[in-house]
């Protein structure tokens, strides 16, 4: 149907990107720009006793904490991460100082010749030995003790998950300038106004004296939500000291070693089972936050909220803590605490079903939340939960029932197969009262005299297609051809703060502001005249306001739902596992562009699968990451996944543009549990640790056969 908004168009950034003309941060000429190279801590925890600097050639500079004009702390949620280290360093990779100079290699050589004298302190590398809790959140309903007492039995299990690197193809990069009291920074990022606010504090200026420009950004996946504020602060301080623009673009190893990742997690769960049903859940979550708080507060909130899975359990108690360790700070990664929770809950329900001799999928569907049921935080699922229909659709698409039965029978021979299915959601938009109390998004549409329309927003197209989907929404509402609507460069000197490009909020929240602004612009339309229309976020009427103090209410206005299946084949001789197919069914509300949405679902799904199967970040005894390159931190290639199919099951959302909801993060939540359930059929054992690698497969097959 060509008049459906979902009908794909050629993406607006396609031509620039495919021809190599798009200029990313490091593609701009270096005319008069200094290279910045950062000296980093080699110790996980130490006091800096002395720093021995070599003689500096003319035109080279050292920039450290003494050069920070304002507070030596980068504002993220809290203000605890230093721009450059104070007296102590808290993780390997922490920035101590920057060398800036006109020649790239020489700047690097100077940096490498600097000697730091450390007084080593005992680092905390094991999260279970940490005594410093950064954040704690929880939620509960009903009398847990009474229900545990009443249970036929109490099932207990521990689930572990590891770290994951975002591995965006374009590394972090930023360029700072300082002129006439104005600090300007441009670079690769998701959230120009986060950077903007952080710079005001570090540079000790009011926000009018800061300008941030988001450049073409080569992927983010959350990794460019928090970290760019830190790098921006460093280049801004350097630019002020040197009086010249300073650019710092990371090496891949540097990027993997010192930027934030997915939080490793430990879930201890008790489940009361009575009359064949789970009647109570007691979930204790520990997230490894790393050395500084960055975004751990909000990641933990999402993990806590999702700790009931997609289920409605009469009695619930969740306690989550984010603990400090002397490792690289963990932060945002697509899913944001959700993937850890859905992995643990899906496997928990699967294992309880096994114990009861029940079919896992049937058992899980019996517990699935429905419209009108309470959420974990005492809010309400206000809209239809389409999981049962989606399970049916997806089962038909991939032949789940038949395959699952077949693979459950004893398998012999060298090659064994398994299939698994996961059920999950993503709370759409910023968590809790964030949209209402913190972000307060503002959006403008500007109609020029030539009757073309510009969308002024601070949201970044980091590959997810916003320059196209935003324009599609405005063009449709205005009744204009798509080429008459463009998205302006995200430059804080002229776009309003429509909020960060995170939390699967851009289409649902900002897209709806665009639609409403366009509707008003259409009413006011006078050909040949300039006109600006502004829209501000307002919370939908039906929402039960979230109370951050009590951690109660609607944490999200609505939810996007997903069902994924993964089919595997393992060579029992080598332990190598091949993906035979991966299928996903998604309710992201109305699909704004079928191609773009499909691309989001597929890319996110594959990240979820590799989170469970191949991506791991082991550290040595000193806390040093052992695999900081693409040679040993492996991500999937085109040869790793032959069949990747996507279908949509749209349930329109009343307060999203044309019924659209959050999309980007949803598919990353289900990959791990689906993959692990498939693997369980192959190794004939219940699994509760990810990543589950080729080595683990061989070891487990060996143990089972003994």
């Amino acid at each position: 149907m060509s008049d459906s908004i979902g009908t794909p168009v050629i993406k607006k950034d396609h031509c620039d990107k495919i021809s190599g003309r798009a200029l990313y941060t490091d593609d701009w000429p270096m005319d008069g720009v200094l290279y910045g190279r950062i000296l980093r801590s080699k110790k996980a925890r130490a006091r800096i006793v002395d720093i021995h600097l070599p003689p500096l050639p003319e035109g080279c500079y050292i920039i450290d904490r003494n050069d920070v004009p304002g507070v030596n702390r980068v504002h993220i949620v809290k203000d605890d991460c230093p721009v450059f280290a104070d007296d102590t360093v808290e993780y390997i990779g922490e920035a101590i100082l920057m060398v800036a100079g006109p020649d790239k290699k020489e700047t690097g050589r100077i940096r490498d010749s600097i000697e730091v004298e450390y007084e080593e302190l005992e680092p905390v590398l094991d999260v279970l030995k940490s005594e410093e809790c950064f954040f704690e959140y929880g939620c509960s309903r009903g009398d847990l003790d009474a229900e545990l007492e009443r249970a036929d039995f109490v099932y207990e299990e521990q689930f572990r998950s590891g770290s994951q690197e975002q591995a965006y193809l374009e590394v972090q990069g930023m360029e700072g300038m300082w002129q006439d009291g104005i600090t300007s920074v441009r670079g690769s990022m998701q959230c120009p106004y986060y950077v903007h606010r952080a710079l005001a504090g570090v540079m000790a200026v009011d926000e009018d004296h800061v300008r941030v420009l988001g450049e073409v950004t080569g992927g983010g996946f959350g990794g460019k939500e928090d970290y760019p504020s830190i790098l921006a602060a460093q280049v801004a301080v350097a630019a002020k000291k040197t009086g010249k623009p300073v650019r710092c673009v990371f090496e891949r190893r540097e990027d993997i070693e010192c930027t934030s990742k997915r939080h490793p997690s430990l879930y201890n769960i008790k489940a009361a089972v009575r009359d064949g049903r789970v009647t109570a859940l007691d979930v204790d979550i520990v997230l490894d936050a790393g050395a500084y708080t960055t975004l751990s507060a909000v990641v933990l909130q999402r993990a806590v909220i999702a700790a009931e899975g997609i289920y409605n359990i009469p009695v619930l108690k969740v306690r989550g803590r984010a603990m400090k360790t002397n490792t690289v700070p963990n932060g945002a990664f697509r899913g944001f605490g959700g993937p850890q929770s859905f992995y643990a809950l899906e496997l928990l329900f699967d294992h309880i079903a096994q114990k009861l001799g029940r079919d896992s999928l049937e058992f899980r569907l019996e517990h699935c939340a429905q419209k009108g049921d309470p959420t974990s935080t005492g809010g309400i699922f206000h809209f239809d939960v389409p999981i049962p229909e989606m399970v049916e659709e997806l089962s038909k698409l991939c032949g789940y029932g038949e395959k699952h039965k077949k693979y459950a029978a004893e398998q012999s021979g060298r090659y064994r197969r398994g299939i698994g299915m996961s059920l999950f959601y993503h709370g759409a938009g910023f968590t809790g009262a964030g949209e209402r109390d913190m972000i307060k998004a503002v959006l403008r549409l500007k109609k020029n005299r030539d009757d073309n329309v510009e969308i002024l927003s601070a949201n970044m197209d980091i590959g997810q297609g916003l320059t196209t989907t935003f324009a599609k929404i405005a063009a449709r509402e205005l009744g204009l051809p798509l080429d008459r609507v463009t998205v302006a460069d995200p430059d804080t000197s002229f776009v309003p703060d429509s909020g960060p490009t995170v939390a699967s909020r851009s289409i649902m929240v900002v897209g709806e502001l665009i639609r409403r602004a366009a509707a008003r612009l259409k009413e006011q339309w006078v050909s040949g005249e300039e006109c600006i229309v502004e829209e501000r976020f307002r919370e939908p009427d039906f929402v039960l306001p979230f109370d951050p103090e009590r951690f109660e209410g609607d944490a999200y206005p609505t939810f996007s739902w997903g069902v994924q299946a993964v089919e595997l084949e393992t060579d029992t001789l080598t332990g190598y596992t091949r993906i035979l197919g991966a299928w996903g069914d998604y309710d992201i509300g109305t699909v704004i562009d079928e191609n773009i949405a499909r691309g989001q679902m597929e890319g996110g799904f594959l990240q979820g699968i590799s989170y469970a199967s191949m991506e791991q970040i082991p550290a040595d005894k000193s806390g040093r990451i052992r695999n900081s390159s693409f040679s040993d931190y492996l991500i999937p290639t085109a040869a790793d996944i032959p069949v990747l199919e996507t279908i949509f099951h749209p349930v329109e959302y009343s307060d999203g543009p044309y019924g659209a909801k959050g999309a980007g993060e949803l598919p990353t939540a289900g990959g791990a549990p689906a993959w692990l359930m498939a693997m369980q059929q192959i190794v004939c054992r219940e699994l509760n640790c990810i990543p589950f690698t080729t080595e683990d497969t061989l070891r487990t097959l060996g143990e089972v056969s003994e």
């Binding site: 993406k11 950004t217 597929e602 799904f605 693409f630 040869a639 996944i641």
Partner: protein, 154 residues
């Protein structure tokens, strides 16, 4: 003095033999369609066509470039067959963040030049030296299939 053919033109370059071709292309010839993703030959973002073969320019010292024929995305985009690839990548939206794209398109070109009608496995194999973190690869594989179907003077 190192002399080579770059995107169809004879060029010369002076400097240490051990300089990376990647850095020389980006910094001295300002061909920024060649991207740097890892500098270790793993990601393929810096792919070029080097004497007819797909190669990671980060692993090629300039000494090796002497007498070579090199094509980057800036050269490929001037050829007629680029239009086929351009359309084929546009249709399934095979470009997301775009950082891997120039290298990926060169990989597709290199594959189709050797094998104008590759099957699915051959396509996946041909692209497997080029990492993409955004797409899940399905759309890129489809793009190559579309380009093969359309055909071109590779």
């Amino acid at each position: 003095m190192i002399e080579f053919v770059l995107n169809g033109e004879k060029v010369s370059w002076e400097g240490p033999d051990t300089e990376r071709l990647l850095d020389v292309l980006r910094e001295d010839f300002r061909l920024t369609g060649v991207k740097c993703g890892c500098k270790e030959g793993e990601c393929g973002a810096c792919s070029v066509i080097f004497d007819g073969e797909l190669a990671n320019s980060c692993l090629i010292p300039m000494a090796k470039a002497d007498g070579a024929e090199i094509m980057t995305i800036e050269g490929l985009r001037e050829l007629d067959c680029f239009r086929v690839l351009d359309r084929a990548f546009a249709e399934p939206a095979a470009v997301q963040c775009g950082f891997c794209t120039p290298g990926m398109v060169l990989a597709a070109y290199s594959l189709l030049k050797k094998n104008p009608h590759p099957d699915e496995n051959e396509i996946r194999d041909g692209l497997s030296g080029n990492l993409c973190r955004c797409t899940g690869y399905r759309a890129i594989v489809e793009a190559v299939k579309l380009a093969a179907k359309e055909g071109g003077k590779w």
